[in-house]
Amino acid sequence: MRQKKGLVLRDVCGEKVIIGEGLEAVDFGRLMCLNDTAAWLWEKASEIGDFSVEELAEALFEEFEVTKEQALQDVKDIVAKWEETGILE
């Protein structure tokens, strides 16, 4: 899976927010706030491009002090939320 085009992650007064700024997604009516972990994963997913849950879980496990099981569960939850919101394709 990959992120929809035209979405950017912005820091708005300390809050991480995904906003549609591209030609494909100019829409300020809809935006999504992310916690620090989700924002970190979003940037990681952005670097990878066509990413998988497993790749993100591996990255999370390497960067933070979490177990592999916990990392996988966290990524699954977060990615499920992204899919629900419609910011992936």
Binding site: G6, V8, R10, D11, V12, C13, G14, E15, V17, I19, E21, G22, L23, V26, F28, L31, C33
Partner: protein, 284 residues
């Protein structure tokens, strides 16, 4: 013939046939000498020659359209239409320092739109932005009212002018906001919608109010993300160009952090203006 103007401290040159300038009355308060501080030059010519470009985006408003596109070389093109008829086309240099506008009709309309576009693009990385709003001054500070088209921005300004002593209109449609040394200021401009209010004045911003029509009057302070979105919806620009998107974000983010931003549900009445003024004026 060339003339130089300065709006919110940023200069620009209009290079056109002599007959254009007597029509540009609204720019006269902003006219000055060329001083090296020139953001961009707009060259105006009459021409019906077609320009090859690919459409990227279209903005429509009350029978007028602005189509934004790109030439094969990557230059930005804007086409201005009134009732589906092309009035002019603006071709911008890659760095937005030179604009060539070719008009077929409604010269002043085309020049006004071209200047607003060039100004927006050329200033987007300078913590400066045109801001769709109606603005009044009161006791040394300015208060900006924003909202969707038809919400009553101008009406709310008129209510301040009528019922709150010492209020003056700064601009009724498109003032310029600029952050300098951490302070947010608003400047009058030659662009003021249907109201002829072209004042070369500026004030520190005391508050920004997003208006919404309601059957009652109620005001509350907005949270940062909500406030940021309200600002972004009142500021146009080609955000899909990364540098411009980043520049506008920086301006909007700093404004959100610097200026108190409010949400006013209101009726078009005296009480709305008084409630608003009492709540937001001289409070930091």
């Amino acid at each position: 013939m060339r003339k130089h103007y300065t709006v919110a401290g940023h200069g620009f040159v209009v290079d056109a046939e002599e007959t254009l300038f007597p029509e540009m009355k609204q720019y006269e308060p902003f006219m000055d000498e060329e001083d090296g501080n020139t953001l961009f030059t707009l060259r105006v010519q009459k021409s019906v020659a077609p320009i090859l470009y690919r459409e990227l985006h279209r903005q429509e408003d009350e029978g007028t359209s602005i189509i934004c596109g790109e030439t094969p070389e990557g230059k930005t093109v804007l086409e201005f239409q009134v009732s589906d008829e092309v009035m002019g086309r603006l071709v911008c240099s890659q760095d937005f320092t030179v604009g060539d506008v070719y008009y077929m009709g409604q010269r002043l309309y085309v020049v006004n739109n071209s200047l607003m576009m060039m100004y927006t693009f050329a200033s987007s990385e300078k913590l400066t932005t045109l801001f769709h709003s109606s603005v009044v001054s009161h006791q040394g500070k300015a208060y900006m009212f924003l909202g969707k088209s038809g919400t009553g921005k101008s009406t709310h300004s008129q209510l301040w002018l009528k019922h709150i002593e010492g209020t003056e209109l700064v601009n009724d449609d498109n003032p310029v906001v600029r952050l300098i040394d951490g302070e947010a200021r608003v400047y009058g401009s030659p662009w003021s919608g249907k109201t002829p209010c072209y004042r070369n004045v500026d004030y520190p911003i005391g508050g920004i109010v997003k208006l919404k029509q309601a059957p009652h009057n109620e005001i509350r302070r907005m949270k940062p993300v909500e406030a940021y979105v309200a600002l972004a919806m009142s500021i146009s620009g080609m955000r899909w160009k990364k540098q411009m998107g980043d520049g506008l974000h920086q301006t909007e983010n700093l404004l959100t952090a610097t200026v108190p931003i409010w949400h006013l549900s209101c009726l078009p009445d005296q009480e709305a203006a008084e409630l608003c003024c009492k709540t937001i004026a001289n409070k930091d």
